[in-house]
Subunit: 389 residues, 2 copies
């Protein structure tokens, strides 16, 4: 077993990979990273990429070629991992529990990193007093905002916003700022709607910051983001930073939202044909939900992509061929219903690639990326992922 | 990090676990294992449990307390792992490609195990000649049957059945027998329908074996199984072995099919409350699809269980509370729509358990089981899982 991070796979090609295997296209990754980096720079905000999609130091190094920058994490295990690789400035963007806050502050004490937390209730604020006393570290926290009824967070005009901030200070902790996530933007599908969602996210976040400042809280960081709104924001006045994760890889859901071209999707699962049912128009492959995930994120979009879009071994799409069903280790390929196309010839042993509905979910099913470049079969590197909590 | 297999967690309780964490109830596991073992014994067939659900040597040891027995695996990585723990008689129940057949036979050569393969086409049969020559091992293969239009396999009356068997022999390989999987039984929901599906699976499998025998193939193994049909079969005359996997843990899909009680479900994810939206009746927990999987297998059943049924920390169900939405690291708990119940009080920091829609998919999101027993918080052991291909 090769386990070195970022090692070169001297001369190895994808033909030698055991299937199913996760591929990552370096050129697409670089292009996607550059796109949001340039957009953020143009809008004058810091980009704090979310590492929950990639979970990989080698991908993080592509994002920050000149050394560790600010990142967002979805688990404390990610924070520990990236701290071990020199990252110092992180936001743990999941609401805190007393146990997770304590664990996070112990990590700060041990490593000297700045790991900011997230909360939206008075109870969580009050609990910071104990966390501070127990760990000897002063927590720095974001107040979570709700800009689109997506999940948690406070509305900017909720009187609790100021109350929570006051209680954070009373608990001896610091208010780092406010943080919103326009998660409902994943349900949109026109540029106009995305621009509006981005502006709505900005207005809510800036308004909350203004209210807090009017009540004596400096609120230095004004943070927002989702991949669609980050890329479609036209003006981020009053905002200091943007967060996004899936933009590095993109996927069919983001394509359905209208945020990327299919050709921008940087990851895929390499699979092998293991059978067929010609009378049903089925071809069976050795990639089931264990390899592509159970995510059906395109099911409610205008174009349902099943469990993923099918390409040949070099990444060229077979038009209208999708994974129509998936069991644990079997995928069934078929022509999209209503299409006039017919199935390509795919004898047993043929290799194909499957593009993800949801990059975060597909990547999470794998322990490493085999890094490729365009249609070349050469594997440039093997990049390990982390998992767990 | 504790990494020893089956180690004792001296005095540790679930209160000390980082959440989300996968729990496995030993008493329920033992009861479920015993149920199918006794049923198989009564019906006079060998039980060849499928290790794709548990993927864990410690669970396998519960199934085979007196030493390794026959097992089914879904990946060659599982075969390698169980071979390393002394298992010798395995069936790789996924259709072969030339590459996987070669890898499997190399494993046999290296370890001396008997790893039987699966195929259903003449092309696969022909390719065995090369595999045999290249590896020096004679492949032993099952011919896959299709008893219910579920996935791959040949209908018993398909003339290709005999042709494929003949070509297996011509390629210098052995016909181990026939193998069916009544995968469509997961869509049923009455005892009568399950009994009929089991009998249908038996008839198809026995008929195929008879046809092969009439053509000079001994067909020593007649193998069938899915958890529902294995448990509901009333007569397995002519069948030599039964395969099933999810029966060890059970899940909400199996409960919906009518195969188990909710109280039989042996795994759950322990999670912590991290927020609430009282105006929406929502409680947020730190277990999203990364912890419970994206599986929505109950969505098409009579009772949609969302992303899982919610219990208190000891495993007692909160009636009509389900995980209604899941993002990567967030689950949203709510009362099932149409219920007259109201949400229990679940302040931030409260711990709950979530029962799986699909045990195979939930367990696959985790690296280990914390083994518990009933309502006791004590962790008896930590059992590692394997993953990958």
């Amino acid at each position: 077993m090769e386990t070195n991070l970022g090692m070169r796979e001297g001369g190895k090609t994808i033909h030698a990979l055991v299937t199913p295997s996760l591929l990552l296209d370096r050129a697409r990754l670089e292009r996607n990273i550059l796109r949001l980096a340039e957009h953020s720079r143009k809008l004058g905000v810091v980009l704090r990429p979310h590492m929950k999609t990639a979970k990989c130091i080698d991908v993080a190094r592509q994002v920050f070629p000149s050394g560790p920058g600010p990142i967002t994490v979805s688990t404390i295990a990610e924070a520990e991992y990236f701290a071990g690789h020199g990252f110092r400035d992180m936001t743990y963007a999941v609401g805190l529990s007393p146990a997770s806050a304590t664990r996070a502050m112990e990590l700060c004490r041990r490593t000297g990193i700045d790991l900011k937390l997230l909360l939206d209730t008075v109870g969580q604020a009050d609990s910071l007093d104990n966390v501070r006393t127990y760990t000897g570290v002063t927590p720095s926290v974001f107040i979570e905002l709700d800009c689109d009824d997506h999940r948690g967070g406070l509305k900017p005009d909720d009187p609790k916003l100021v109350e929570v901030a006051d209680r954070v200070v009373a608990a001896g902790a610091k208010v780092a700022g406010v943080l919103a996530h326009a998660g409902e933007s994943y349900c949109l599908n026109t540029p106009d709607a995305l621009v509006k969602a981005a502006e709505n996210e900005r207005l809510a976040t800036v308004r909350a910051a203004e209210i807090l400042r009017a009540h004596g809280h400096a609120c230095p960081i004004v943070s927002l983001g989702s991949t669609p709104t980050a890329l479609f924001a036209e003006n981020l006045e009053g905002v200091t930073e943007v967060r996004a994760g899936v933009y590095m890889f993109f996927d069919l859901v983001q394509h359905g939202v209208g945020v990327c071209a299919i050709d921008d999707i940087a990851i895929s699962v390499l699979a092998t044909v293991i059978g067929a049912k010609p009378e049903k128009g089925w071809v069976l492959v050795d990639a089931g939900w264990m390899a592509v995930s159970r995510d059906r994120g395109t099911a409610n979009q205008r174009l349902d992509q099943g469990y993923g879009v099918v390409c040949d071994e070099t990444g060229r799409i077979f038009e209208d061929v999708i994974v129509c069903q998936a069991s644990q280790e079997h995928g069934i390929l078929a022509i999209r219903s209503g299409s006039g196309k017919s199935m390509p010839e795919l004898p047993v042993g043929t290799r194909i690639r499957i593009l993800p509905n949801h990059a975060c979910a597909m990547a999470a099913q794998h322990d490493f990326y085999s890094v490729v470049n365009g249609e070349s079969p050469e594997i440039e590197a093997r990049w390990e992922r982390i998992r767990g909590w």
